[in-house]
């Protein structure tokens, strides 16, 4: 083992900087301890005080979220949020980002992101039942420079991330049921990979990660510890640059096979009653899990690092504590029942051993080769991280861009041709190429899988189902973070509503640039304000989430990208609704008002290559009223299909409602310019279809709620015909249009270079 720098050398050589502590933070550590920390201790502080673990920049913003509600059983603070579903059932869910690792090694970065969020869910005691994900990449094509290395790299990242999510999720046996993918130049080099997991649990089985009971053994379960992923949490809190490539060892490698065994072993351990608490060794590995469990239990923990299973030789205490090797859990068992724990682990062929115990002194004490390697008072480690309130100032560009008129182009000559060009853009194209790689059906509880507004998962042994969606249009947030934040919440909830679910609560993944820049912190603050407003209005508590900052490449930030995952309760299987037409002759209704709102729209991006003006406005009262009305209509069995209008407006919603041979004949009246009417992204609009005999009742219901409700057309086999004010703008054979739309992404990705992304795919 190479000699470690002494505490004195760490101070004089400022080694703490490379371990993630600033000058002032290091000084504070020295004051808190009354001495200079050694290398292991400095490393522990560096990682626990990183943004990823401490939320030091975002905490004051996050504390503004409404977190309480009648159904909330567990808000933020534990591994994941927990919400009551009635009859003793509850849902556990959370989103987490793995952006930085995925930018370096897309397959493993994404795979380990999925594994990490999975462990967060089952460490609460829940059986994971579904994965969702939200992904952002740079453009996949460039007309001017199709062979550019950036484009190739984006394709490689996209292919690798999708394969990684598939590789882990498919193997572990949890269906990947919903998600979204976006493409924009701002994500070139800094893709976003946010994975969400949903679990189901009986109230009485709910676990808390508290290390209780002095003298109880601390048991290490799962894969051995290697040098992989050391300082991943601090890595995730830095900007990416050319040096990031050199930090490649930071990326961990997932083993879904071992992950599956650890999952089954842990769920059986909970049932045995021999275990008090379990926590994932995720970000910051053994450090974070041991200190958090001890602190929550009001106790301390002593670990003998020589007992930690190691697969690399000569590992130092620093490396053992900071390793982010995957598929590892830390648990506290009841003293005297260790053998039961080991017996269950043996059955699942998962290595397990005791590595320490719970102690009364509220410290983390580490022993290594007979000597004391570190001793840190927990209150001076966890609660003492300085919180930062950064300056928040919108940029000049931000303000001047908002003042621009959103429409700068003339009416296109051939809107039908324009439409066909737009639906093959990766942004609007069908994501079938992506979700066909995910097993969306394993566990046989999936009632509505990918390709509808929200997925629906049935809860076995009950009449209940869960509707779930993850959503966020970052272009809206880029133009106006507050409105964009509101829309993200409203749209995710609207998706759940359209599927027949009552939205219950949300988790959020906040992906932003460097918060030390005033314009970025302003985006964060404003977006949080918007999310809070929508949460209050729609009565949706926030039960957890994740913050990923420093999403920048060479100084350029990604668009502010808050992603909202909403889970809702479908009270009866009959309420399950999809966005797809059900039978020819059904009448199509458009709810809500269509305004000339094109700022940040798909049409604006396509016509001008950029975004400007203001995003669509969102009236939260109207939104709430609309969602309540649609849910009521679903519960009264008046609706055949329901589909939220979002990117690409009405015409995109019409296309994505078609399935099989069922197309549309639309004849709509609008006072707005043709192209703007079809592609407007006005909020609070939903497309319904209904059998003719329910039409009057449905219209009456909407009238009583004062919701604008127009008959726009009928479901017609084989055609996609759209007329506006009596004039046909689009007239197409449906199968051809569908093929164009469904195969667009596949055509781009299969062009020539799929070999490398596929190469690493576990089958």
């Amino acid at each position: 083992m190479p000699p470690e720098p002494t505490p004195e050398e760490i101070s004089t050589q400022q080694s703490y900087l490379s371990l993630g502590l600033s000058d002032s933070e290091y000084q504070l550590v020295c004051e808190l301890l009354g001495r200079k920390p050694n290398l292991t201790e400095t490393g522990i502080y560096g990682v626990m005080w990183s943004e990823h673990c401490s939320y030091k920049t975002s905490k004051m913003q996050l504390s503004r979220f409404p977190t309480e509600g009648p159904n909330v059983l567990q808000g933020p603070g534990e591994g994941a949020g927990v919400v009551d579903l009635g009859d003793g059932w509850a849902v556990v869910f959370k989103v987490e980002s793995h952006n930085h690792p995925s930018a370096i090694e897309p397959y493993q970065g994404a795979a380990t992101g999925v594994g990490g969020i999975l462990r967060d869910i089952y460490s609460m005691g829940a059986r994971p039942v579904a994965f969702l994900n939200s992904l952002r990449f740079g453009p996949l094509s460039d007309k001017k420079d199709p062979g550019s290395p950036n484009i190739k790299r984006n394709q490689y990242l996209f292919g690798g991330v999708v394969a990684g999510i598939a590789g882990y999720g498919n193997c572990i046996g949890v269906p990947t049921v919903a998600g979204e993918v976006g493409f924009d130049a701002c994500y070139s080099g800094n893709p976003l990979v946010n994975a969400m997991c949903v679990g189901v649990i009986r109230h009485e089985d709910l676990q808390h990660g508290r290390a209780e009971g002095i003298g109880n053994p601390v048991i290490y379960v799962g894969a051995a510890t290697g040098r992989d992923g050391i300082h991943g949490a601090t890595f995730a809190s830095e900007e990416l640059n050319e040096e990031s490539e050199a930090k490649r060892p930071s990326v961990q490698v997932g083993d879904p096979f071992m992950g599956k065994l650890v999952l089954e072993a842990c769920l059986e351990l909970f049932r045995s009653g021999a275990v008090i608490s379990v926590q994932d060794m995720g970000a910051a590995g053994l450090t974070c899990s041991s200190t958090e469990m001890a602190e929550k239990g009001g106790n301390g923990m002593e670990l003998d690092l020589d007992l930690v299973p190691q697969r690399a030789l000569e590992m130092s205490p620093y490396e053992i504590m900071l390793s982010e090797s995957q598929e590892r859990m830390l648990l506290v068992a009841k003293a005297g029942r260790e053998e039961e724990v080991f017996e269950i682990c043996r059955k699942w062929e998962v290595p397990a051993c005791t590595i320490g115990r719970v102690i009364p002194e509220t410290v983390l004490r580490l022993k290594h080769r007979g000597a004391l390697a570190a001793e840190l008072p927990l209150d001076r480690l966890l609660g003492s991280c300085p919180l930062y309130q950064r300056d928040a100032v919108p940029s000049e560009k931000q303000l001047s861009r908002q003042k621009k008129n959103a429409v700068t182009w003339d009416v296109p000559d051939d809107i039908g041709a324009l439409f066909k060009e737009m639906i093959v853009q990766p942004e609007l194209a069908s994501k079938r190429w992506v979700y066909r790689q995910y097993d969306s059906m394993v566990r046989t509880c999936t009632s509505v899988g990918p390709g509808s507004d929200a997925a629906v998962i049935r809860i076995e042994g009950t009449n209940k189902a869960l509707a779930m969606s993850i959503d966020g249009n970052s272009r809206y947030v880029e133009l106006d973070p507050q409105t964009g934040g509101r829309i993200a919440v409203a749209e995710a909830a609207r998706n759940v509503t359209c599927s027949g679910g009552q939205p219950l609560a949300l988790t959020n993944g906040l992906n932003f640039g460097n918060p030390e820049k005033p314009e970025i912190f302003w985006q964060l603050r404003e977006a949080v304000t918007g999310i809070c407003e929508a949460c209050q209005s729609l009565e949706l508590p926030v039960t957890g989430g994740n913050v990923s900052l420093y999403n920048e490449t060479e100084g350029e930030a990604v668009y502010p990208t808050p992603l909202i995952g909403v889970v809702g309760l479908v009270e009866h299987p009959e309420h399950e609704t999809t966005q797809h037409w059900k039978q020819a002759g059904d009448v199509i209704l458009l709810l809500g008002e269509t305004e000339e709102e094109l700022g940040a729209s798909a049409l604006q991006q396509f016509m001008t290559g950029s975004i400007f003006g203001m995003p669509p406005a969102l009236d939260l009262e109207k939104e709430k009223n609309l969602q309540e009305a649609v849910l009521e209509a679903i519960r009264q069995n008046l609706i055949a299909s329901a589909h939220d209008l979002s990117q690409g407006g009405l015409v995109m919603a019409l296309l994505t409602s078609c399935k099989g041979e069922l197309g549309v004949h639309v004849d709509w009246e609008s006072g707005i310019r043709d192209d703007l009417a079809l592609f407007s992204e006005s909020q609070s609009r939903i497309l319904l279809s209904t059998v003719p005999q329910n039409l009057l009742m449905l219209e009456k219901l909407m009238q009583s709620r004062k919701i604008p409700c127009e008959r726009v057309g009928v479901v017609m086999p084989g055609r996609f015909d759209i007329a506006l004010n009596g004039k046909f703008l689009i007239q197409e054979e449906l199968p051809e249009l569908q093929q164009l739309w469904e195969n667009a992404l596949e055509n781009i990705m299969n062009s020539e270079n799929q070999g490398f992304s596929g190469e690493k795919q576990a089958a």
Binding site: G755, F756, G758
Partner: protein
């Protein structure tokens, strides 16, 4: 002693992965590439037997589990310490 087993797909079996990699290589300008076959290499540490015994034992391992004779061929190399 170490046995190195190289497992490849049989010549007449289509290797879509190899084909995709070949296309990529050609796309990158390596026009001389005429074929790519992708296989795997398995390294096995052995102790306490002679090289001749090792050869026989390794072939048995290949036939009993390491290689699927329906689609795969293998090549064996023994490296003595």
């Amino acid at each position: 002693m170490k046995g190195i087993i190289t497992v490849v797909l049989k010549q007449d079996i289509l290797d879509p992965q190899g084909r995709a990699v070949m296309n990529s290589l050609q796309g990158l300008g390596y026009d001389e590439v005429q074929g790519v076959r992708i296989g795997k290499s398995i390294e096995i540490e052995l102790n306490g037997i002679s090289p001749d015994e090792a050869d026989a034992r390794l072939r048995k391992m290949c036939e009993s589990i390491l290689v699927n004779p329906v689609i795969e061929d293998y090549h064996l190399e023994i490296i003595e310490d």
